[in-house]
Symmetry: C2
Subunit: 166 residues, 2 copies
């Protein structure tokens, strides 16, 4: 029997960071869990970063994923938002690295293409396809749908790398 | 006798993060240590963030500062650099928060003004004044001089807060 590879996908944000976990067993995908870790907007920035990192480490320790995946970030927003998102992204990428996991990064249109089949799908299409691919997930929020989507994308690409077509 | 408050100042960067530690005892400042923590540019981003965070935690555990201070970041560079700096800054701000320290943030011109007396001083003037204020520091690199400068700035401002003029 093929061993399951457990993958955690992450959608970083300072207020809400979505996470989603799937098992990839051969050609099959199986839903494990999803959720959102949050920071308290009333707290200092350093404390908020600490909340995100610690909550995510708890999720990783609880579910024991083998690999992590994250979407590459758009940087065409205003610089202050980019800096804030960068800080959140830093402490989010740190968590799997602290747990010894590799972290795959995927461009947004690659994620969409591997889920919906086209690179310019909107958020609702992605969420609907995630729920179709992972029927046990139930209704998922947008943050968690994006996180599950990047986990699914990673499952596809790591399989291609394991069994190259050429 | 007034109790010494030990302050770590930080100058975040993905490749080189400067740190500098001073003791503030009443009106006096006393040099403790300075250095640079680095990440290996050959490694994955998540690993590099982990290196910075872990090395900085070692410095904090070794010297046991009570408070931390960091310069606010300019965000007028290109967006990709801002994102990268944001990620480094996230894991750097995280380290003192993990150790339970508060982190003060200061605008660059406030730091310069509290060291040199004017807000538009250049890097060399800051480094020279840092060495004059902390004669035991010896020659310091630019990253570490900026880190010591923000620690000195924090020492000044926390004293003003303790003994308000009004």
């Amino acid at each position: 029997m093929t061993k399951a590879i457990r993958i955690i996908g992450l959608d970083p944000g300072l207020r809400n960071t979505g996470w989603g976990i799937v098992d990839s067993i051969g050609n099959r995908l199986s839903y494990v869990a999803h959720g959102v870790v949050q920071s308290n907007a009333q707290d200092d920035l350093a404390q908020r970063l600490c909340q995100l990192n610690q909550e995510l480490l708890k999720v990783i320790n609880l579910y024991g994923p083998h690999e992590a995946a994250v979407e590459e970030t758009f940087v065409n927003k205003n610089p202050a938002s980019t800096l804030k998102l960068g800080m959140a992204r830093g402490v989010i990428l740190l968590a799997p690295a602290q747990a010894g996991l590799t972290v795959g990064e995927y461009a947004a249109n690659r994620v969409k293409k591997s889920i919906v089949g086209v690179g310019h799908a909107d958020k609702n299409q992605v969420a609907l396809m995630v729920q179709r691919l992972l029927p046990n997930s139930g209704i998922v929020t947008a943050d968690a749908a994006d996180a599950l989507a990047v986990a699914i994308c990673h499952a596809h690409y790591r399989r291609i790398q394991d069994f190259p077509l050429s």
